[in-house]
Amino acid sequence: MKLLILIGLVLLIIAVHQLMRVVELSRQFKKGNEWSVKDSDNAFNGKAMLAFGFAFIGFFFWQADRWNDNALPGAASVHGLKIDTLWDYNMYLVVLVFVITNAVLFYFAYKYRGTKDTKATYLAHDNRLEMIWTIVPAVVLAFIIIFGLKYWNEITDRSTDPNKITIELYAKQFDWSARYAGNDKTLGETDYRQIDGGNSVGLDTLDTKGYDDIIVKNEFHIPVNREIEFKMRSRDVIHSAYMPHFRAQMNCVPGMITEFKFTPNKTTAQMRKDPYVIQMMAGINEARALKGDEPIEFDYLLLCNKICGVSHYNMQMNIVVESEKDYNAWLAKQKQVKPLAAK
């Protein structure tokens, strides 16, 4: 096989060599040169630019249509809805600029394709025009900045809700765990030196506040319509807690506690009944059927979104959003760490 490829390559090189000799020999019989740009070249490339412009913008809309039901479903958190609205307005603007600017560019590239007899217009500058395209973007950007920062401040403000639930997300190569504060509503202190097989998140065994903490793996539950304050930590390298359905993301940095808060507003069950989600899941299950995999139902996910090592691609945790009653029932069934920590 390798020999065949080698022979093929050698033959290809010989063929190209011969071909180029023919080209070189025929060059001597032609008048003029081959490199200079002829009117026909300009005509061809100018028209191709126009065709490309149409195809390009068409390709954009084709993709937007075709892959429309692949995008993440609408936000499942209160602040996420605001992000979605802001996203939409910004995106309309950006798509408008993208389409118009590219259209004008490719149109000019077609329209002003050169010929021997044309002379270009000498236009070195025009202060008025340049003022326009300095000031118009500046004004538009001012709006983008003002709205962006308004939401940013709201989203990243410290949580002040007295009714909030605090959950710690703890990342390590290559899985997540979530820690609930327990009855005293206070997370126990931690010390990374105390990490061992029975103390995976490094609880400080002297801190009694940690005795009623609850640590879960693989899946964690949160109640709908309550503010959840996440505290993120990492054991080894930087990870990033990415919860795309809630429009939430924050890095988990060793040596630091980072924070993000949001209020989920749709339960997992509600999401599964959402028409968009049903359509999206149909697409996923169709693709899975082709692979011979079983159909699945929608679930919220926590993903790692900062390169963290060999299994970075497979570091996720299910999130279940449910009514407060179901949440309380679930939490009551979870084991407190006390017996482990007190030993």
Binding site: V16, N33, E34, W35, V37, N42, M49, F59, W67, N70, A71, L86, N90, V94, V97, T101, N102, F108, A109, Y112, R113, G114, T118, K119, A120, T121, Y122, L123, A124, H125, L129, E130, W133, T134, L141, L149, W152, I155, T156, I195, R235, D236, S240, Y242, Q249, V253, P254, G255, M256, T258, A287, R288, D293, L301, C304, N305, I307, V310, H312, Y313
Partner: protein
């Protein structure tokens, strides 16, 4: 028009009666081709090294794209490229996947688009276009190339070691990159990466200082700053950015080396790995991120500005029109250069950095959109009522304007910290920076090669192969990177070995396949360029002195590579570089060496 004037238009200087008193001493092979101090030779050395590096980085991208489109499939190609250790049975190893992504990024950003682009065109064009005999220091210039070469060799050597090359992503965030327990790529491969990058910075600084000094001190008579071609302005600003920001990368790297080898804790704290707690306390990976991006963001413009400079020159020449808003173009490049130093935090909105600091960076980052918009609109206005000559260089320059706009607008989304929350580190970002920085810069580089090939190798590249190369590249480039936006909208994170480990992304297989198919075609298309390039070096048509009827000084040098560039006296400059199709002139170009006629005004702005 005087007789002397039209004589000048044939491309000769007023000095052709000077005797050739330049002594052409014999040169050895080594001093001419290897340890050359001539800017033209050094430029060619940079270019050819960069082409080799680019082919390697491109091949890497094909390997990991195949994995992403058809995960778990067996490919003889992958086995042939990586051997049984990393490509057992033709399936890419997950550690190698990360290594390929890392080295692909490193090579493309630093070795191709920084070293290759600036190294080639700053070296070629600065002495030529400002009318200098050579760089201010030929010796430092030679060292610049050889440090670049050494650094490239070390980076490539890391591909052949047992644990594999660095694989923490091109941004090498610690602790992942600092701890040998974290991944195999953080062992010897990371050490080599750090050594290689340090040497790279040495090369870049030696080059950069030389470029700045040459532009400031060695301009020929009459070459005022406001008469310089935009290529030179771009190279000057790029060099200043590099000189100011690359040292910070070195400090960042040195601290990382200390953490790795000397037991310090600049970036490390509270870590439990490999079954034991580490002693390091008090450091912060966020410090690394600040230092890294203090270089990393100016770096984006170090990559982009030379390409914008090249395209300004090419678009003006081939539209047969002056560049629109010459002074605004300079002003916007200066503004971009300045702003690029105060925006680094937009890479760090979600790192745990104080969100208030984040909002400051939102503000400064979005300001960059203004000078960028000015540049884009000025390019388009330059085309308006032009007489566009479609050389391959011109095609690539128009491609650059398109990708600069297309990739630039998504920057407005990403710079908005609120919107960044959900697309940060997803394929939306991958699409954005590949289009705005990758494509624009590589298109600029291709434009430069096609445009100045006659000056570099005294022959012409084949035009038709150039057209074919452009159209394949342009179509496939958008075919590769545009669909990635939609992966990002679906929430697909970057640097995932496969998107099928869990079901969330199962419906995106077709997008990944489209991307990969376009990538393979694009990669094959580059061999047209490579063939055309090397073939034309030896067998291309002989180039005339000024093939594109261009105004700048490099086209007044004779078609031979001589020391000192001009036989006899240096040319004297009388006008700016953009007198194309000026009313009252019988020709559609007036070289910079032609004196102003009575009552004729110079330049495009400021009066």
């Amino acid at each position: 028009m005087s007789h002397e004037h039209s004589a000048d238009l044939t491309g000769h200087l007023g000095h052709h009666d000077h005797a050739h008193d330049h002594d052409e001493h014999e040169e050895s092979f080594v001093s001419k081709y290897i340890f050359s101090m001539d800017h033209k030779m050094i430029s060619r050395q940079f270019l050819i090294t960069a082409i080799i590096m680019a082919v390697i980085a491109m091949t890497m991208s094909i390997i990991f794209r195949m994995q992403l489109a058809w995960p778990g499939e067996k490919f003889a190609f992958i086995n042939a490229m990586l051997g049984d250790k990393w490509g057992k049975d033709g399936i890419l190893d997950p550690n190698m996947y990360l290594a390929l992504v890392t080295i692909h990024g490193t090579i493309m950003v630093f070795f191709v688009l920084t070293g290759g682009l600036s190294g080639t065109f700053a070296n070629l064009l600065i002495p030529y276009q400002v009318g200098a005999r050579d760089m201010a220091s030929g010796f430092l210039n030679m060292l610049s190339y050889w440090f670049f070469f050494l650094s490239s060799a070390i980076m490539l050597s890391s591909l052949f070691i047992e644990d594999g090359p660095a694989s923490g992503g091109w941004t090498i965030y610690p602790p992942l990159s600092a701890l040998p327990e974290a991944m195999p790529g953080s062992r010897l491969g990371m050490t080599l990466w750090l050594i290689s990058m340090t040497l790279f910075v040495v090369s870049s600084l030696l080059g950069g200082i030389n470029y700045v000094v040459t532009v400031i001190n060695l301009r020929t008579k009459g070459m005022k700053m406001t008469r310089m071609p935009l290529t030179i302005w771009a190279m000057l600003i790029t060099a200043i950015l590099g000189v100011l920001s690359f040292p910070v990368l070195v400090s960042c790297v040195v601290l990382l080396i200390c953490d790795r080898s000397l037991g310090t804790s600049f970036y490390l704290s509270d870590i439990y790995i490999g079954g034991r707690p580490l002693d390091n306390v008090g450091g912060s990976p966020v410090l690394f991120e600040h230092l890294f991006w203090f270089l990393g963001h100016p770096e984006v413009y170090i990559v982009l500005l030379p390409a914008l400079g090249i395209s300004s020159e090419v678009i003006s020449t081939n539209s047969r029109k002056p560049i629109f808003g010459y002074r605004a173009m300079i002003g916007s490049m200066l503004a971009i250069g300045f702003l690029s130093f105060i925006v680094w935090g937009h890479h760090m909105f979600l790192t745990g950095m104080n969100p208030f600091l984040g909002s400051v960076f939102v503000f400064t980052t979005l300001l960059i959109a203004i000078p960028s918009a000015v540049k884009a609109f000025n390019y388009i206005t330059t085309l308006w009522r032009g007489n566009i000559q479609y050389t391959p260089a011109m095609l690539f320059s128009i491609g650059l304007v398109s990708s600069f706009v297309t990739g630039g607008v998504t920057g407005i989304i990403l710079a908005d910290s609120t919107l960044d929350i959900n697309v940060h580190d997803t394929y939306f970002v991958v699409a954005h920076f590949h289009i705005v920085m990758g494509l624009s810069a590589i298109f600029g580089m291709f434009a430069g090669v096609y445009h100045w090939f006659p000056k570099m190798f005294l022959r012409m590249m084949n035009k038709k192969l150039g057209y074919l190369h452009f159209w394949i590249t342009f179509i496939c480039a958008y075919g590769v990177f545009f669909p990635m936006h939609f992966l990002g909208l679906a929430g697909v994170p970057r640097r995932y070995y496969t998107n099928s480990a869990f079901p969330m992304f199962d419906n995106l297989v077709d997008i990944n396949e489209i991307v990969t198919v376009f990538a393979i075609i694009a990669a094959l298309g580059q061999f047209i360029f490579i063939f055309n390039f090397f073939y034309s070096i030896f067998r291309g048509e002989k180039a005339p002195q000024n093939p594109w009827n261009s105004n700048t000084l490099e086209w007044t040098t004779p078609m031979a590579h001589i020391h000192g560039n001009w036989p006899g006296a240096l040319p004297v400059v009388h006008r700016w570089a953009y007198d194309y199709s000026k009313p009252g002139s019988p020709h559609d170009f007036i070289p910079q060496t032609v004196p102003l006629a009575d009552g004729e005004q110079d330049g495009g702005g400021g009066h």
